[in-house]
Structure formats: structure tokens, C-alpha cells
């Protein structure tokens, strides 16, 4: 999938850096064709980005239909379709749109909060009473939800680029969360240092697990899909063991750890009422760092070459085994950071629910993001928005939150089956153009 990406995106290995002269050359080449021409070609040729946008659109349409036609009020209205067809259609429309509006209000922007803001006497009281914060709360929540998805998504995307499938983001997440939590309550350190130590601890906690997977693959040939799945079980039960023994919060009988010290909390970015914290910046920095690593450094070149053709990489003198270990170590660390971001950013203690399904959602995020860092950022923000908006949607329209899971699954389903999307929208396959290009090149 990733090979078919359009020429534009910054992480395309061949596209030159912004400062180089080749960029200008590329620019002038593009300007020779009209904008409309480019637009038409890029849509007609059905490249991956087009497919993804259409996949999301299709999923939203189908999700809306599903939502409307499982609603009892709508079904009742459709029962009287022949006496009042208008009512039936508008009822279905309202239900579907209502849910999406609530989802939007919960994840991006809610006009009611703005109205409330302007009803306040002065701006200072508005800020003081938290009305301003309420305006930005949906966006803040989206970022908070996106943070672990982004980090764990990168943890799947990097091995994907190097030809491996990391199913173990879940276990690596737990590894990072355990170590970050332990360092959070077990040691006492000054403010800034404590945060850094815990974050590093999260990285190490995940990286160790990733390293084990890489080392097993390099030394014994054990397939990473098997080992990561098994480690998921191991870490799940290790967490429950630890929470019932050494890490149990004093005075509690359920499985929960002590709170981490406030010195270890990731700082909030815009005051204490908005939950958005430095973890989001850390995740964005990691995405940028991964892009730099993959497309601007020698090790990244090696990782990608191994991912595309390990035999040729070996013949070219690359150490394939060492790269496997390194890739899994970094990937594990990234998933571990996701754990530490959840613990230090929002939860402040680890329990059975802390890991949620982040490690598995990460696989869908990485898939949707085509395994590229920028793609993973966009995909994680989209899924983060779904997660952030779902509670409000349920509260306002009594649409079950599960519809969000259905949406995510539909998106991934369509992304995984590009021919299906192309068939629906009658796009020409990108391949046709490529074949003509190649034969033309061969004859030139």
C-alpha cells in the first residue's frame, strides 16, 4: 500500500528536503501541469490517500444508516412509511445526523459552550469559571485520547516498515506502564527530573519486551507474531499478579497500584481543567523523530531496505538480524511510552483497565496510517476524536458508544480492501498508469 503513495508527502523517501535544489525542480515540474489536471489524475488513479478518504466517508455513511435503522423510533416511523413517508425519512436522517453532530461536539467543537462563554459578564470571570476551558475541552480530550494511540501506532508502524508485524504493542504498553508507575510512587525525586525518569522508565519497560522479541527472532527465527501474542498474555497476567502483591495500593483489596507522586505527573499544557498534557507533545515529537529516523538516516534506510527485500539487504552487507533487534527495541519503547503517557498524563495509577485495547487499536491506526509517521498522526487523531466524542454522543442521543467501534472497524475494512472502494467509486486502479509508465520507460 505504502508504495502507491502520491509524490507529495514529506516522508516520501525520494522527495528531497525542503531546502534542496531538487525541490525547486520538482515544483517547477509540477507547475507545468495544471492544478485541475493533477487533481483529476490523483482522484482518478485511485491512489492510497484517495482510497482512505473515501473509505472513511463510506464508513461514516454506512455507520449512519446502521445507527438510523437500529433506532426504534426510526423503525416505527418506517412502519408508517406509506402514510407518512416524509416523517420516516426525516426521522432516519435526524437520528443519523444527530449522533454525528454529538460526536463532533464531543470531540472538536461544541457551539453551546461558545454561547455560554458569551453570556458571561466579562472575559476574566469566564476564564475563571472555566467557561473558556469548556470551549476547548473537546479538542483537549481528542488529543488526550490520541496520545497513546499515536505512540502505540508508531510502535506498530516502525516494524511494519522493517517487514515485521508487531502484535505486541499491548504487552509493551503494559511493560511501560508498570515501570513508569513503579518509578512514579516508589522513588522520590525533584519535579522535572521525576517526570523524565518515569518517562524513560516507560520507554525502557516497553523496550525490554521489544528487545526480547527481536532477539528471539534474530537468534532462533521465532516469528514475531507468535512471540508478541504470547508476551501479551504474559504481561497481562504479570500485571494482575503485581497488582495483587507488590504493587497493590495499601488499604485496597482490588487490583490497583498506589498513585504516582505529583512530581511525576506530565505537565498540563493549558491549565488544570484541560487534560491535554505534555504527553501529546511527546507523541508528536516521537512521530517526527521516527520520520527523521526512517527517511533521513542511514539506519532508517537499512530498516526500510530490510522491510522491502531482506535478501538484497543482506547481499548489500546490511546486518539484518541486528536491525530486527533494534527495530523491535525502539518499537517496544514507543509502546512503553504510550503506557507512561496514560499513567503520567491522565490515570496516575495503573489498574486492570489502564491498558484498555490501546495495543490492538494501534494496529488499526498503523494500518490506516499506511505505516507512515504522518499517516499514523492523522489516523490516531481521527480515532482519538471518535473515542473523545463517544460519551457525549451516548449521553445526548442515546446512541450506543459501540457505534464508534463499528465505525473504526468499517474504516479499516475498507482501507484493507482498496479494490472494494475503487469498485464503489469506479476509480481506475493506480496500477494501470504505472504499467503504462513502465513500458513507456522501457521503450524510451
Amino acid at each position: 500500500m505504502s508504495e502507491q503513495a502520491p509524490p507529495g508527502p514529506p516522508e516520501s523517501p525520494a522527495s528531497p528536503g525542503p531546502a534542496t535544489a531538487t525541490k525547486q525542480k520538482e515544483k517547477s515540474e509540477q507547475s507545468r501541469r495544471s492544478f485541475g489536471q493533477i487533481l483529476r489524475e490523483s482522484i482518478l488513479e485511485g491512489n492510497s490517500v484517495t482510497v482512505i478518504v473515501l473509505a472513511i466517508f463510506t464508513a461514516i455513511v454506512i455507520g449512519g444508516l446502521l445507527n438510523a435503522f437500529t433506532n426504534t423510533t426510526v423503525l416505527h416511523a418506517w412502519g408508517n412509511f406509506f402514510s407518512a413517508p416524509g416523517a420516516a425519512i426525516s426521522q432516519a436522517w435526524n437520528t443519523a445526523i444527530g449522533a454525528y453532530v454529538a460526536l463532533f461536539e464531543g470531540s472538536i467543537f461544541n457551539p453551546h459552550t461558545v454561547a455560554a462563554l458569551f453570556q458571561q459578564a466579562s472575559l476574566s470571570t469566564a476564564i475563571h469559571d472555566g467557561y473558556l476551558a469548556a470551549v476547548f475541552n473537546p479538542l483537549s480530550e481528542t488529543c488526550v485520547q490520541a496520545t497513546p494511540l499515536l505512540l502505540a501506532g508508531l510502535a506498530v508502524a516502525l516494524p511494519y516498515q522493517a517487514g515485521m508485524f508487531n502484535i505486541g504493542a499491548q504487552s509493551q504498553f503494559i511493560g511501560g506502564a508498570i515501570l513508569a508507575t513503579y518509578l512514579g510512587y516508589g522513588v522520590s525525586l525533584p519535579p522535572v527530573i521525576h517526570v523524565i525518569v518515569c518517562v524513560l522508565g516507560g520507554f525502557v519497560g516497553g523496550a525490554v519486551l521489544g528487545w526480547v522479541v527481536g532477539e528471539l527472532k534474530a537468534r532462533t527465527g521465532a516469528h514475531e507474531v507468535i512471540t508478541t501474542i504470547m508476551l501479551n498474555y504474559i504481561m497481562y497476567y504479570l500485571l494482575s499478579y503485581l497488582l495483587g502483591n507488590v504493587m497493590q495500593r495499601p488499604g485496597r483489596t482490588d487490583l490497583i497500584s498506589p498513585f504516582i507522586a505529583s512530581n511525576a505527573h506530565l505537565p498540563r499544557l493549558f491549565g488544570s481543567t484541560l487534560r491535554i498534557n505534555a504527553g501529546f507533545l511527546l507523541a508528536l515529537a516521537c512521530a517526527f523523530g521516527l520520520w527523521w529516523l526512517l527517511y533521513r538516516t542511514a539506519p532508517g534506510f537499512e530498516f526500510r531496505a530490510i522491510g522491502k527485500n531482506p535478501s538484497a539487504a543482506r547481499v548489500a552487507g546490511m546486518n539484518v538480524e541486528r536491525s530486527w533487534v533494534l527495530v523491535m527495541l525502539i518499537a517496544g519503547g514507543l509502546a512503553g511510552l504510550a503506557g507512561s503517557a496514560v499513567i503520567q498524563g491522565t490515570d496516575f495509577s495503573v489498574n486492570f483497565q489502564s491498558s484498555g485495547t490501546y495495543g490492538f487499536d494501534a494496529i488499526t491506526v498503523a494500518l490506516l496510517g499506511l505505516g507512515r509517521p504522518l499517516g499514523v498522526v492523522l489516523a490516531s487523531v481521527l480515532f482519538g476524536a471518535f473515542h473523545a466524542g463517544a460519551p457525549l454522543m451516548q449521553a445526548q442521543t442515546s446512541t450506543p458508544v459501540d457505534i464508534v467501534g463499528v465505525l473504526e472497524a468499517l474504516i479499516v475494512l475498507f482501507v484493507a480492501a482498496p479494490p472494494l472502494v475503487r469498485a464503489i467509486y469506479r476509480l481506475r486502479a493506480a496500477r494501470a498508469a504505472g504499467v503504462a509508465g513502465l513500458s513507456g520507460g522501457g521503450l524510451a
Binding site: E3, P13, A14, S15, P16, G17, T20, A21, T22, R296, T297, A298, P299, G300, F301, E302, R304, A305, K308, N309, S311, A312, A313, R314, V315, A316, G317, M318, N319, A432, A433, G434, V435, A436, G437, L438, S439, G440, G441, G442, L443, A444
Partner: protein, 530 residues
Amino acid sequence: MELELKGITKRFGSLVANDRIDLSVSPGQVHALLGENGAGKTTLMNILYGLLQPDEGEILLDGKKAQFTSPKDAIAAGIGMVHQHFMLVPVFTVAENVTLGNEETRPSGLLDRRKARRDVRELSRRYGLEVDPDALVENLPVGIQQRVEIIKALVRDASVLILDEPTAVLTPAETDDLFRIIRQLKDGGTSVVFISHKLKEVQAIADTITVLRRGAVVGDKPPSATEDELAAMMVGRNVQLKVSKDPARPGDVVLDVEDLTVADETGRVWVNEMSFQVRAGEILGLAGVQGNGQTELCEALLGLRPVSSGHIRLDGHDLTHSTPRQRLHAGVAYIPEDRQEDGLVGAFSVADNMILDSYDRPPFASGINLDLGAIASNAAERVQEFDVRTQSADTPVGTLSGGNQQKVILARELGREHKVLVASQPTRGLDVGSIEFVHRRIVRQRDHGVAVLIVSSELDEIYALADRIAVMYEGRITGIRPPSVPVEELGLLMAGSEVPGAPAQAGTPQAGTPQAGAPQAEQAGAGESS
């Protein structure tokens, strides 16, 4: 049956694969279609076989217009095709494969296996095919599998048989057998369309030769046309078929292989106490039938396969147990046998493939940062120097033709500092023009003082390039000879008999000048190995 194609035109997008092609095949004739890769031969035959529909033009059978919308129509009209890649079910017997798609049943509804077997036996006898109807296809050698394909076509009463690059997968002996079969078919009245880019084969078997270039017919020639004439028509310019090279001026020993033994994971010994030396400025050609340990030897030389015993030395430094990277840095340039599997990352751009083994060193990297500017300018330079035909240096290398892919590998390997060049089957599957280019570059490296080891199963190539010829058989060298050695003697050495002969002394240019070795150069002909 008289077959005629009139004004066949086929376009793929903006590319014209076939441009108003006229062709007529008379009954009982072998009509060769000669052209480089991408000249449109296969497209034309796919149209004739009903796999593709022409945009313009018509197909005439005995003067009557025919239209084929699927291979079924073509088969019904008496046209059979043997594809380059066989369409056989490996786990079925020969008889089952032959009836597949054309099953005859007895009145009870059961398959008539007896008739199928009888058919195979009967055809096998008539054309001397020697195929056992009950053998499992997967157990048969490639040459016999091809005969099964031919039988498949004959059972369906094909009167025109299309053979698409039939010799690409065959050994020389199998090719001779195939030619015998083709002649028998011809005598039986079947017409054969023989698609190839190999000049000598075409000359040997064809009654008429039609040359295609860039989708259009360049002209018809009788088989008596010279190779130079045919090659010039094919490529569109005069081609240097004989590699012109001065006598070698060998220097010191650069690559020294001593008692080398290499085994695979199962313990099978592929290279057995093998010793040879390659000197600076000479080309050692390693001949031999494929599968006698050449692949394993090359892998051991590059460090991809562990050495059981013995030594590999480069300029006196022991490299026996070094990693591939250490060897590349020490000055080994390597052209792998399977360029798509081992030589290139198909999804990477031409530019990235040109730095595949030097991406982590200056000027392409400083520290761990890649210098994209240096990579781009290196690519631009090399694309020009090695005449790589590509839309741009950012084009994925997997979309280039085989010849251009090989040029990318050459550009990369020869662009590095190197003392020895190990080239395994360097021109396999390439067209005449690319072969000429690759051979010239290899000879130029030799003249610059590089020690060159050419591993090839094509004797033509060995004769064309080698200053000394070593023959490998079952992991051993059965003899080292000067390039003037007669082909019969090489044949014996390749079959494992250690014929006593004048062994070529390392560093002594034999047979005077290559001009004196002209008979061999003639033999080398186009050198168009498969």
C-alpha cells in the same frame, strides 16, 4: 492451415505495443518472431491466442476472418500456445494435465482416463516425445514439462503451435531435443511460431524470420541472414556482437581461494576443497552446468554462507570468516545471480538502489544523517554514465526492464572502490543491446586492473569474456583451460571427466590475441544468454 495477421494494432494507454503488424504463417513452416524484450512479440501472440483483443486489424485463417475473444476460441480454431511459464498442475499426472479443461467422459459420466493416457502415448510415439502419461508433473524436469505443454496443444488438434521463448528455461541438450521435436512437428504439417530473442536459435530452427522492434515489424529475413544483420535489425543500430578486448595483462594474485569447502544447512557439500586464483587484470570464467555449486561458491565468496574449511584471501588478507559488509569494504564488487531477489530493492527508487551498499558512508551519510543531495547527484551522474533508461532517478527500480535493472546494479557495484568483481550470470535474461553493454563494462574493469570472476552457465558468455576458463562440476574444478579450448573438451569437463589437456597457467595469456581466438568469438556470437 494458412494463418495471416493483418494490421494488428494494440495500445496500452499511450503505449503502442503492436503497431499495424502483418504476419503470415504457411502450413508446415517454422516462423520465428525475433525481437528484444518489450518489442511486442508476446503481446502479438496473446492477441492471436485470444488473451488480448486487438484495437485494430484482423486475423485470417485460411483466408477467412476469425475473431477470438478467449483462448477457447483460439484453441477451437486450431491454435495452441506454450507459454514461457508453464500452465501445469504440479500434483497431477501428465495424462491428467493433458485432459484438464478438455475432460472426456465415458457414458457413465466418469472421466475417461484410459483415452487420455492412450492419447499421450500415441502423440509421444508419433513425435518421439518420450513422455510417460502416468508420471507426476512435479517430478519431471523442465524440458519434459515443456513437452507436456506441447502434447496438451496437440491433443486439442493444434495446427499452429506458438512457443513463447521456449528455450529460456532449457539446458543446451534439452534445447537440441526441442529442436528435433519442432522439426518432426513441421514434417507432420504443423506450423510453429517460435518466439525468441536468441539469434542463433532462430537461425538454427526457423524457415522465416520476422523481426520486431518497438511494436512494429522491421522486416522479414531468411535464416541465412547473418547474426550481425539480424541483431542490427532487432536493436536498430549496429551491435558489436563480439566483445573486442586486448590480451589480458595479469598482475598479482588478488583473489585466492584455497581448499574451500562449503556445505548447506543439511550438511550437503556444494563446494568441495576447491582452489583457484584470480589475478589483477584478468577474467576467470567459471563454466559449468547450473547446480554444481556455483551459487554456493558465490555466496561463500560474499560471506552469505559459512565456509566449512579452506581460505578466501583478498590481496593477502584473510576474508574467510568476514561479514558481507567487511568484504564489500575490503573491495569485493558483486553482481548476484538473481538480480531482483538479491541485487535490488524493487520498491526503492533508482537513486536509493545505487547506494544500497554504501548508504552509511560518506559522501552519502555524515554521521547517521543521509545526505539526500549527494544521493541525488550520485544517481544523476550514474544514470547518465551507465545509460540507465528510466523516467527519473526517483522511479521505483522494480518498474525498469531487466537490462536497466542490471545497469543499476553495475553502476552501484562498479562505482565503489573494488579490487575483485564477482559476477554471477551477469547477462541472464538480458537483450542483445544490454548484453553488449554489460560485457563491455566488465572488460573495461579488467583493463583497469580489477580481478574478475565470471560465473556463467552460458558457454557463449564464457568464451566471449574469459581469459582463462575453469570448469566446475559437483563442487570441484575439473579443469582450467585457455580460451582456445575446443567446446567439446569443455563439454567433457562439464560432464565431470577430467580430460588431460594443457592447463592454462595463471597469468599466461593463452592463444596470443583474442583475434587469434576468433573461432571462439564467432562461437560466442551474440552472447545472448538466457
